[in-house]
């Protein structure tokens, strides 16, 4: 849930933008990180662990734990807690190891 009326900081959320997670549109505000915006929309699972295939999501918000990795606009393993949302951003969960991408693959 977005906090529209913050008890101390007031009404900070003004400009909405649309981001896509698994191709579905969600509303975000421009001062939010990707991980936060997804959480506001009820999306907490951002990927799964490599061996035991357990759900993973935001943990430290400081770019240290790498638990919030997701694929953003075609780039794998992006720390979503350190990446600000942008209109039209396409996000996919980090469920598999990345493939290398050759020059030929729209790179």
């Amino acid at each position: 849930m977005h906090i529209k009326h913050h008890p101390v900081l007031g009404e900070q959320l003004q400009k909405t933008i649309t981001i896509y997670f698994n191709d579905l549109p969600y509303t975000a505000y421009e001062q939010q990180t990707v991980a936060a915006a997804l959480m506001a929309n009820g999306i907490k699972r951002l990927g799964s662990s490599r061996n035991l295939v357990q759900p993973r999501g935001l943990f430290c918000t400081k770019g240290r734990c790498c638990s919030c990795y997701a694929t953003i606009n075609g780039e794998d393993h992006v720390r979503t807690c350190q990446t600000m949302v942008e209109d039209g951003m396409k996000i996919y969960p980090n469920d598999e190891d990345p493939e290398v991408r050759g020059e030929c693959c729209g790179d």
């Binding site: 990345p98 991408r101 020059e103």
Partner: protein, 357 residues
């Protein structure tokens, strides 16, 4: 703690642990391995761990390496899965001069049974489509591969312990005394006695040699290696310079610096290594590097292993070399023969320390 042993091995890295394991297969009693820190804290734990034969020179050294590589499949059966993969080795080259070298190498190695194919650009790209299309060609040999060095040493250690070998770790040897029929070894955690003493100090061999007043001419060579995040399997071969591990990480590096025991990494070499990675395999560009590490390699003064008895000191042995991972199965086997039988099934005279005298 029992302090009197048949054999003490100083150094629990890949070489020392292999000797301990192979020795314990035949002679279960009285073996202890002393390590100044903990196995894998030195060179054995900071390597790409290629099992590499095909462009070792000269031919007799390549042959020696080949015998060791041949032992790997059996080793895995005996000590457990060490993630050994005989992937075949590819060395891409970018110039006609290197093709010339490659052709001559292939000719020279045919008589000793090391088959090297000199691939054309097209053949190389067919084998390994991720290689840079700008290559001129590549040498290829099916005997090369790689292994997980952590597993390798861990498995040697566990198998040796199962056979009764003791490990005394964080126990730096400070003094060695030769008495008739025995050695007295003083270490931080106590005093040990033994009949046979094996120096397997790797990169610290020269320092160890000083304790017995023997010059073991081993120098240090630093190599920096980059590790990527795990990627879906895409590299088929061990490429000279990089390889993909079982878990998908790509290990990259083939640098050499003389920096003594300083195992720092530097952005200078890290960036150069990144350039190499992209030069060899352009599609790695998007892969993220998660860590870089340095390994201090042991480098004998003439480049070749120092193996065997130390002349003039009864029951004193040395095993120190650069390519410990490749050579460990063979070195463990031969040192065991030497200690127990007094002779080896494959001659090692060429590798005697006496050549430096």
């Amino acid at each position: 703690m029992e302090t009197s042993y048949e054999t003490i091995i100083i150094g629990g890295g890949v070489v020392g642990s292999s000797i301990a394991y192979h020795l314990s297969e035949r002679n279960k009693e009285g073996i202890v391995v002393l390590d100044k820190k903990f196995p894998l804290s030195g060179t054995s734990g900071s390597t790409q761990a290629w099992v590499w034969v095909h462009n070792k020179t000269p031919s007799w050294y390549a042959e020696f390496s080949m015998y060791s590589a041949e032992l790997y499949p059996y080793l895995s059966k005996k000590i457990g899965d060490v993630e050994y993969k005989r992937t075949g080795g590819l060395s891409p080259f970018f110039s006609e001069l290197d093709r010339e070298k490659a052709e001559r190498l292939a000719e020279a190695y045919e008589p000793i049974g090391i088959k090297i194919k000199v691939l054309s650009r097209e053949e190389a790209l067919e084998k390994e489509p991720s290689l840079n299309p700008d290559i001129v060609g590549a040498t290829y040999s099916s005997i090369d591969g790689n292994v997980n060095p952590f597993r390798l040493v861990d498995r040697y250690m566990r198998a040796a312990k199962k056979n009764g070998v003791q490990y005394s770790t964080y126990n730096k040897v400070t003094e060695i005394q030769k008495l008739p029929g025995k050695f007295i070894v003083r270490a931080e955690k106590g005093r040990f006695e033994c009949k046979n003493l094996v120096l397997a100090g790797g990169t610290w061999s020269r320092e160890l040699g000083k304790l017995v007043e023997v010059t073991i001419p081993i120098n240090q060579l630093r190599g920096q290696i980059l590790v990527t995040e795990p990627l879906k399997p895409f590299l088929n071969y061990t490429i000279s310079g990089l390889r993909q591990a079982f878990n998908g990480e790509v290990l990259i590096g083939y640098s050499m610096e003389e920096e003594g025991f300083n195992r720092a990494t530097t952005l200078d070499v890290i960036q150069e290594t990144a350039n190499m990675a992209i030069h060899y395999v352009p599609s790695l560009r998007k892969a993220k590097v998660v860590r870089a590490f340095s390994g201090i390699r042991a480098m004998p003064e003439d480049g070749f292993p120092i193996l065997g008895k130390i002349p003039g000191v009864e029951n004193l042995y040395v095993a120190a070399m650069h390519s410990g991972v490749t050579l460990s199965p063979l070195v463990g086997t031969l040192m065991t023969e030497l200690i127990l039988d007094g002779e080896t099934s494959i001659p090692i005279d060429r590798y005697s320390i006496s050549r430096f005298a």
